[in-house]
Symmetry: C2
Subunit: 516 residues, 2 copies
């Protein structure tokens, strides 16, 4: 068995089943090993940003890591942006990069780059394998590190992939949580008991069905509100689950939402801050006089921390836990294809159990005002703000959950970053409906320009925020990658197209030409 | 004047005229400044890899830097791969990255990343601006550093863009070369005089018309051969210029070419090495017993170094400088669309003064066997081996040379990395003909698999090197981005399509469906 085969065998033993790859010569022994040792399916991405984004989507839904296989520094570079989103989502990803043979590296061949330097900013764990015999142990370590919720990057020189490997891998320990911190729990309980108006701000695994049920129990006992971080990695939502409002993206709305709380408890969410620094607007949404405490910090099990907090409260039950028990779908609207109409149409038609991959930018905001009363579904959002996450994430989510419908609510600007993911939808026959919000501009940026005082952009600014001249012909682009597509300009046509897409297996794309 | 305006004004004073950008909120003051201070044209890329690749193409042809404007760490990440190619090409690029406001950075907002850490591996010069008043000086420094042939990355916090700036920029010194090294010249002259069979291995600016003429003079005096590095950033070629052979990509051919030289002089080229490390094959192409020396190293003027070497030789003239004085176009071939037929068709039809952007991978190799006797033209090649350089590079080259025809000889695998560049061709109406080598696989990688002993890839390997299931519909993809396209399956149709494309203004794409 060579090092590459040992790597693959060990990865299989650690539970890896998918490898999102765009390999090159320095990864060929691993490609060969994928053939000779059955257990991991290779999925080619036409661009590495598709590979890393798909690994993110898979990890969010499967709750275990997929593997990537990227070619040297440039291949990693192309994957950086979606690794950034995965890092912010605490998605487990085992990121494998081939490196030149150690004896070849000193001559600085054309593709040589400082791969560790490049990997550092997005990885929670980085290692370059030091010899063939270390490889099995390195992979176990990488999967263990990734499973704690980070990007684990293992760089594997070509000669170590080829070397004979007789080392036995140490057993995979699985994911291990740090012990709970009783003082944190006690501080949170004290805050909830003593402060008048309080909220739990939920993030990470607390937005699972289990976490939300516990949060609802605490709300029932203490009367606190339940809020969610602005861009959760994954959130269960819909009837039967407690209503949880997201903290808005725009500072003034976020400030308004949080202004009256005397104290908040963070559970898997970070202290709320503005997305960007706006002159005259504080970075923190909460004021210094608002008390804040956190439970489940570091490597603790968030759901267990929340559960322990609930047990410690022994509250009296100030009311039945509010939840959206009943499905109340809005009707399909009529008329022009506005952002609101698009959101409402989706809310009217999305099937139970849908996975909504939201990179809808300026268009999808209103969707959340309607979606808490829909049949249960899952929301994935853009955690790191790096656009181009939606299409690849949808691919990964669909591969993790082949029996569920994936709806990619997708801004056009972001879609164009990683449009190559459409090919994977076609190649794998994935049940993904892509709704392109075709406003033909970077609409969020137009809004930011306006907030910065630029009402009428000049020629240069206009050229830099507009997606016209020419407008993208989405039907052609989508078909070019093998995904059938239609373009709609009114709500009736959108509803028809969406119904048809949801009824048929395999991928399809609907360009929604938006008026406003 | 705010910092952003001072930045733009100074950049204009330093000769910057193009800004390839995909800005976000943290770059908006610079976007605004591009509007208010005329002199730099903003060119939007739908993806940052297009921006950096276009800056590379522009810099290679214009011989001065363009500016990029990228959004935070993820925007830079997306541009890394083509910056790597530009770094290896010694292309001058002024790479501007917005950063969060310094007062906002400590709260670690979602888009925050270690930008300097990310920039390091591809930059010859990196700085984060320390205050608004430093900005004009920083830009001068960045342009100066870039002009010496590197990526100069300047990271500019948002608050410093907004601050009032009264600082006067220091004058732009222009590019300054290091003094020539007389000992280097003397050593090279001694080698050429004393060794029996010698060669100049040319790279960088020595492959300009001026450099080649000097090299031919040396050949005329000393009888040495003229060779070129395998993947030059830019090379003038064709009738009237001396015939210079590239060192082949495959080690056995490279070794065969260089085996008999007693001594070589490197002029702007690195010591030849294999592209990858192959077991049993030495990294260096030359043996230890073959003498090697270099002139013009470090920051020297390569053409001046070569010229000084020529002057110092005072040789007796062993023969007239061999050059391809006459144009000998091959005829348009007949029959099936093989790699050889494609190369010959291009050689038969390319116009005088064409810029050939070659990312033709396995298909374009034979082109160089025919192209030294064509009318004068310029070759740009993939210097860093990071695929996806061709289409963006063509965009930059066409913007630098609007009066010349650009032909992008483009492998399909690489084309799919940065296909968004087609939109720039349409938007700017660029005279670019894209020849897609549609072999529907990563053919180079299939060859490398074969060399690694894998004749028949298994299911996983097949999936990872093939571009079928479905095949890309290039006509649709191209039209989707606004570029008219045709698909051809025989030589006659290719010749017709190529003639038509070259005769008409604006971009077009020809998919060449290759048999072998």
């Amino acid at each position: 068995m060579n090092g590459a085969e040992a790597l693959i065998k060990t990865a299989i033993d650690c539970g890896i089943e998918l490898c999102f790859a765009n390999p090159g010569t320095t990864e060929l022994p691993i490609v060969g090993a994928l053939d000779r040792i059955a257990g991991i399916k290779g999925v080619l991405g036409l661009f590495e940003g598709v590979c890393t984004g798909a690994a993110d989507g898979f990890g969010r839904m499967a709750e275990r890591p997929a593997m990537t296989l990227l070619h040297l520094g440039p291949g990693l570079g192309n994957g950086i942006a979606n690794l950034h989103n995965a890092r912010r989502a605490h998605t487990p990803v085992v990121n494998i990069i081939g490196e030149h043979a150690t004896w070849h590296r000193p001559v600085d061949p054309p593709l040589a780059m400082d791969i560790e330097g490049l990997a550092g900013p997005v990885s929670g764990w980085v290692r370059t394998t030091a010899s063939t015999k270390e490889l099995p142990g390195d992979i176990v370590e990488a999967v263990r590190a990734a499973s704690s919720g980070c990007i684990a990057t293992l760089i594997v020189p070509h000669d170590y992939q080829l070397g004979a490997c007789t080392t036995q891998a140490p057993p995979f320990p699985g994911n291990e949580f740090d012990p709970l911190d009783a003082a944190e729990i006690e501080a949170a309980a004290t805050l909830l008991r003593n402060k008048k108006k309080t909220a739990l701000i939920l993030g990470g695994k607390t937005l699972s069905s289990e976490g939300l049920a516990i949060a609802a129990r605490i709300r029932g006992m203490m009367g606190c509100d339940l809020l969610a971080e602005t861009f959760p990695a994954r959130m269960e939502r819909g009837s039967g689950l407690p209503i949880v409002e997201h903290i808005p993206y725009l500072p003034k709305y976020a400030q308004a939402m949080l202004a009256d709380y005397d104290g908040v408890v963070l559970v898997g969410a970070k202290d709320p801050v503005t997305f960007f620094g706006y002159p005259g607007v504080p970075s923190r949404i909460l004021r210094a006089d608002q008390e804040e405490t956190a439970i489940g910090t570091g490597g603790q099990d968030l759901v267990e921390a929340l559960s322990t907090l609930a047990d410690s409260l022994k509250g009296k039950g100030v009311g039945a836990p509010a939840s959206s028990a009943q499905v109340k779908r809005p009707p399909i609207p009529e008329g022009a294809l506005t952002s609101a109409a698009v959101c409402q149409t989706l809310a009217a038609l999305q099937p139970e159990g849908a996975i909504i991959v939201d990179e809808g930018g300026a268009t999808s905001v209103r969707y959340y005002l309607m979606s808490d009363v829909l049949p249960p579904h899952t929301i994935l959002r853009i955690t790191g703000g790096s656009i181009g996450y939606g299409m690849p994430c949808a691919v990964g989510a669909a591969l993790a959950c082949p029996d569920r419908t994936v709806i990619n609510f997708q801004a056009d600007g972001g879609a164009l970053y990683t449009v190559q993911a459409l090919w994977n939808e076609a190649r794998e026959g994935l049940n993904i409906t892509t709704l392109i919000c075709s406003n033909r501009s970077y609409r969020t940026l137009v809004g930011e320009l306006r907030r910065a005082g630029v009402e009428k952009p000049g020629k240069n600014a206009q050229a830099l925020v507009s997606l016209t001249d020419p407008a993208i012909d989405w039907i052609s682009v989508s078909r070019g990658f093998g995904v059938p597509a239609v373009s709609v300009t009114d709500v009736a046509a959108l509803a028809d197209a969406l119904k048809r897409s949801l009824a048929e297996p395999g991928p399809s794309l609907i360009e929604m030409v938006l008026g406003s």
